[in-house]
Amino acid sequence: MRVLPPFTLHRPTTIDDVVELVSWDDLPYVGGTELLLAMRAGLLNPRSLIDLKGVEGLDRIEAADDAVTVGATVTHARAAGDAGVRRALPLLVDVLGEVGNPRVRAAGTLAGNLCFAEPKSDIIPFLIALDASVTLASTNGERRTSVSDFILGPYFTSRDQGEVLTTIEVPVRPGRDMTYVKYQVMERPTVGVAAVRAVDDGTMRVVVGAAGEVPVVIDVDASDPDADSVASEAAERLEPVDDLTGSADYKRHVTAVYVRRALSRLERR
């Protein structure tokens, strides 16, 4: 097994120090569950890693009435084990439990998962369905953007070289049905569908992940959506490529199946 390339390790204690350092060659680092692997594979060779684990305030988890907020260094395991998160968003706890394995969950972070923008992430489509947003800090201040706008493509986000993701905010609204269904036989899912419906007016967001290069986001206005038409729209808008989890045709087919399945699970709640 190859060794990691040499780098400098910065261990700042404040976010002000972080934003002074971060660049395309000086990368934020927490769990490194993808970053270190990419470095070992020769795909990335940063001059330095900026360890965020000692930065004040980035480890917070807040479960308030209207939102769950996690800082950039919160691991999947910590978030899933938080009683407040479980109360506010029990399905999020389940989806977090789908990530990798217990070792990956103990080290990896939600923030890292978003910044890596793996097309087959479980968390990303679920957070988009919940209308989650992220805050990014830089020497110019802060900006906030929806996860939906943050994820631009495979392994590609709107994070600029001087920015570091500091916070993820997931709105908690009363009266929502939600579900996450997926088909997975390999290390990564073939397709994952997150669906969230407002009980009062029936408006719905359906997000398809894994099968396409980018999550497909469908906002449905109707109070009685036709499952078949939502499924067809998802299959048509999908941008699939052939890979080990299936051919593009197969992915379109299984996407439609799982969108229908997700909608029927919502109905039954």
């Binding site: 097994m1 190859r2 060794v3 990691l4 390339p5 040499p6 780098f7 400098t8 390790l9 910065h10 261990r11 700042p12 490194g32 569950t33 270190l36 692997l37 070992r40 330095s48 890693l49 360890d51 684990k53 395991a77 990798g100 394995n101 217990p102 070792r103 990956v104 103990a106 080290a107 290390e187």
Partner: protein
């Protein structure tokens, strides 16, 4: 503070050690190459096989994908520290009794994961065990004896 070398102080199996290491040194390299604790193996390099599993402050960690620097100030438990010399932990006894190892290469990783599981959940059902061990690969046993061993160890530790 910026450095391509870091000075770390880590408690390994109860003994505190201090070393200056390159920032890029992994925890597995520290344990195997610098401390001679070769019970922790390396294989996939990608956190999917589990042979490099150690416990850091009780949490399961892929030592091959973890920086030694990240263990600074923390307590690392490796397979060598699981039992006192001359004796075996109930989990290790159960693995032997259930024939849950053949070549033994994956065994330290499975034992460390089982330790972490039983610390978190003292009465796991079969589904809990299968899910928790999902990130560990064995090429020899077909997994059933390993699952039985963990069930037996759980019963032994918490009858």
């Amino acid at each position: 503070m910026s450095e391509s070398s870091v000075t770390i102080s880590v408690s390994v199996n109860g003994s505190r050690m201090s070393q200056t290491v390159p920032a890029r040194l992994t925890l597995a390299e520290l344990l195997r190459d610098r401390l001679g604790l070769t019970g922790t193996k390396v294989s996939c390099g990608m956190q999917v096989c589990g042979v490099c599993t150690v416990l850091v402050d009780g949490a399961p960690v892929s030592a091959c994908a973890s920086l030694a620097a990240d263990a600074n100030g923390l307590e690392v438990l490796t397979i060598e520290g699981v039992s006192e010399p001359g004796s075996l932990h109930p989990i290790q006894e159960a693995f032997i009794k259930e024939f849950a190892l053949q070549c033994g290469f994956c065994t330290p990783g499975f034992v460390m994961m089982a330790l972490a599981l039983l610390a978190e959940n003292s009465e796991p059902d079969r589904g809990d065990i299968v899910r928790y061990l999902d990130g560990n690969i064995c090429r020899c046993t077909g997994y059933e004896p390993i699952i039985r061993a963990v069930q037996a160890a759980a019963a032994e530790v918490h009858p």
